[in-house]
């Protein structure tokens, strides 16, 4: 692979951030109606919506993982193993995705 693992984690971090930034206004709009909008909740029962919800949660976990990596690199004393923070970020994301998938 041409690019190192940190490059990929940073790219996922940025793309997930953009997706979340675009998603949030819609999320707030839906929640602003209060959760007891039965028609709306019926709509969220659709499999496509469930998959999209799962996708959003995975993006959030990925962004969190990548973000923790950045904070560790910038604020903790430098060690060579910090390059493997990529692995931690990835593990976090996968773990979260699995947890939610099992729950859905």
């Amino acid at each position: 692979m041409r690019q190192g693992s940190s490059w990929w984690v940073a790219l996922v971090h940025r793309l997930s951030g953009i997706a979340l930034a675009l998603f949030l206004p819609a999320h707030f709009w839906v929640l602003g109606h209060g959760l007891a909008m039965d028609g709306l909740l019926k709509w969220t029962e659709q499999p496509a919506v469930k998959i999209a919800e799962w996708g959003i949660v995975v993006l959030l976990a990925a962004h969190l993982g990548g973000g923790l990596r950045v904070l560790a690199l910038e604020f903790l004393p430098w060690r060579d193993w910090q390059k493997s923070l990529t692995a931690v970020a990835a593990a976090l994301t996968v773990g979260c995705g699995l947890a939610l998938a099992l729950a859905l």
């Binding site: 951030g17 930034a21 707030f28 109606h33 959760l35 729950a103």
Partner: protein, 113 residues
């Protein structure tokens, strides 16, 4: 204020809000997974959240942190990937921040008040 100083403070705000969001997101994700696993309906969730002062405060803080974090993040994206820099970009991002803040607090009130 010198540009370098304000840009540095934007970075500080980004990292500080990231730290706050780190904690908030973990709680939020755990809560979602718990609610989904429990098969809670909208009405059931609302029964637990309405009038809950602690959750209200938590999510208000969450919204505030997001209002700081998301626009500053998008600032880098707009500048580096779209070549968009200068006053216009900052104006748009400020509007985005206000949009998130208003809609976010509206949602917090709807669910927790």
């Amino acid at each position: 204020m010198r540009a370098v100083r304000s840009q540095t403070l934007l970075w500080v705000a980004q990292r500080a809000s990231a730290a706050v969001l780190g904690a908030c997101v973990v709680v939020h994700l755990a809560t979602i997974i718990y609610a989904v696993r429990g098969g809670l309906s909208g009405a059931e969730i609302l029964a637990r959240t309405r009038g809950n002062g602690a959750w209200f405060a938590f999510y208000a803080l969450f919204v505030l942190a997001v209002t700081v974090h998301a626009p500053i993040g998008m600032r880098a994206v707009l500048g580096e990937w779209l070549g968009w820099r200068g006053r216009a970009r900052d104006a748009v991002l400020l509007a985005f921040a206000m949009l998130l803040g208003v809609m976010g607090m509206r949602a917090v009130f709807a669910v927790f008040a």
